[in-house]
């Protein structure tokens, strides 16, 4: 569950938290694209490092490190799969480029997780909803989205209570073979789903009794406005994208091995 820790928002103020979520989202997408177009280790290392200042500036180091640690397991699997397949492909020999390729694929995944983690750690669900609304997405969808985000911790807590209740009735989750273990989760999942449905019906009734959707044109107390920081981020985003494409199209990227070889 620690992967999700890195996606949980805490209300603090920092230059990054105050940025317009729309611009932040565009930035994350740009990093995404940049990470996809490279398969060499060197540029991916740079992409990884580019984000560190954001983390430091936002003051979310601890949460970020936790989410990186949570991603470590998947990252290891990605590394091993890539390594084993390139090992077989290269005729059962370990070469420096093999290892480098596997490392690059792993780092690509880490960069994706890293940028998403920074986005979610520094964007409040309310801001996200506001951003969706101001991009002219129908309010019903925005509301559904923000509600879903808001109920994730509630659901997690409820799952814990249900597990406790069933354990108190002698359920042992870790008992039996693989299939039996999956079946062990039925007594957890059914109450969880039933109560989620029940809650959503109750929520719908509560909303209707409070005149949800009575006015067509909603107004907001807070409006998102672009500030100087947002323009700086746009410039950075464009800079990263242009540089990335330029390098991709017009330069050969040396592998780390070659680079180190030419230096010494």
């Amino acid at each position: 569950m620690s992967v999700f820790d890195g996606l949980r928002f805490r209300r603090v103020y920092s230059p990054i938290h105050n940025l317009d979520p729309r611009i932040k989202f565009v930035y994350v997408c740009a990093i995404f694209v940049a990470a996809i177009i490279f398969w060499e280790l060197l540029p991916l290392i740079i992409l990884f490092l580019v984000q560190v200042p954001f983390v430091v500036l936002a003051g979310v180091k601890r949460e970020w490190v936790r989410s990186m640690r949570g991603a470590a397991f998947l990252a290891t699997i990605i590394f091993l799969t890539n390594f084993v397949f390139s090992f077989i492909g290269a005729g059962y020999t370990v070469t420096a480029s093999n290892v480098e390729y596997a490392l690059a694929m792993t780092l690509r995944f880490v960069v994706l997780i890293e940028s998403f983690s920074v986005f979610f750690l520094t964007t409040s669900p309310d801001h996200l909803g506001l951003a969706l609304e101001q991009t002219r997405i129908p309010y019903e969808f925005c509301f559904a989205f923000t509600t879903a985000v808001r109920f994730v911790p509630v659901l997690a807590e409820e799952a814990q209570t249900i597990m406790d209740a069933q354990k108190a009735r002698g359920l042992e989750l870790e008992r039996g073979n693989f299939l039996k273990r999956i079946r062990n989760y039925i007594p957890i999942l059914i109450p969880l789903i039933v109560s989620a449905i029940r809650r959503s019906l109750e929520l719908a009734e509560a909303m209707e009794s409070r005149a949800w959707g009575a006015t067509k044109n909603r107004t907001n107390l807070y409006m998102l406005k672009m500030h100087r920081g947002d323009f700086v981020l746009i410039a950075i985003t464009i800079g990263i994208l242009v540089t990335a494409f330029y390098i991709r199209l017009f330069f050969g990227i040396p592998s780390l091995n070659e680079l180190l070889g030419s230096l010494f």
Binding site: I186, P187, V194, S195
Partner: protein, 274 residues
């Protein structure tokens, strides 16, 4: 016997829910744990069947440390009925719901059948044997949850808020049932806000406040002590309130039982007539 030795418990989010709690509940005792929301009542009772392990200190049930055995093993001895029945009901029929725990504990099929029938009759659910638990009303679901724990006949029974959503008749049945269990030398622990229910049952009362036990004693002593009650944000039972307001008559103050109150007042009236 449950022995709680100087336990502290801190939740992963850093909230310290229990601060140096020690207590001892003997076999066959009937105790009610009361106190305001967030006082640590549920956290405390979750230590009795090992769902939570103390951060420091220890909990011994019949001399066995709860840290040394699994919850499932401990549950055979300590039955725990959760506050919200919807957190445990999942089967297609009430009958299967009650049999679930018995299967987990490895009871034989014939024994399981007998016990299910016994539990259904005990809580007046026999007519719902083949009904889906999700089709029942809130109060009935609560009784199914209770039946599903009673079925394996645990030595110690913990009930978290058993009276919520129950009408007077069901509460009275619950009271009778608790007294019956007590007569069978079972240990019963209830967590509740229902002062009147506790006043009628007259158990040992443990008052909690901010992770500590602030009062421990007979209900008639604790529930008539305005000082500790305000500390734990509890209103005294109505009978006790009357006797507090009638302090001019020089009546005894530790009365919470309706019949005892009636007798005392009649005695006073007779004296005045003479």
């Amino acid at each position: 016997m449950i022995e709680v030795k100087d336990i502290r418990f801190t939740y992963p989010n850093g909230v310290e829910a229990l601060k140096h709690v020690s207590l001892r509940i003997k076999n066959g005792e009937f105790a009610a744990i009361m106190g305001e929301n967030g006082a640590g009542k549920t956290t405390l009772v979750k230590h009795f069947n090992g769902l939570l392990k103390p951060t420091s200190g220890s909990v011994l049930v019949d001399g066995v440390d709860t840290r040394k055995v699994s919850v499932a093993t401990q549950a055979r001895k300590v039955g725990f009925v959760f506050q919200n029945p919807d957190h445990q009901l999942f089967s297609e029929t009430v009958e299967e719901e009650i049999a679930f725990a018995l299967k987990n504990f490895g009871f034989k099929e014939t024994v399981t059948k007998r016990r299910v029938t016994w539990a259904l009759n005990l809580l007046g659910l026999a007519q719902y044997r083949k009904t889906s638990p999700f089709m029942l009303s809130g109060g009935e679901r609560k009784r199914v949850a209770l039946a599903s724990v009673l079925a394996w006949n645990p030595k110690i029974l913990i009930l978290d808020e058993p009276t919520i959503g129950q009408d007077y008749q069901q509460k009275e049945k619950l009271r009778q049932f608790i007294l019956q269990m007590k007569a069978q030398r079972k240990t019963i622990i209830i967590v509740t806000h229902d002062v009147e229910f506790v006043a009628e049952c007259n158990p040992r009362v443990l008052l909690m406040r901010e992770g500590r036990i602030v009062a421990d004693g007979e209900a008639r002593k604790v529930l008539t002590n305005p000082q500790v009650l305000t500390q734990a944000s509890i209103v005294p039972p109505q009978i006790a309130q009357i006797f507090i307001h009638l302090s001019d008559l020089e009546l005894p103050k530790d009365i919470i039982d309706v019949y005892e109150a009636r007798q005392t007042l009649l005695n006073v009236l007779e004296r005045q007539v003479k």
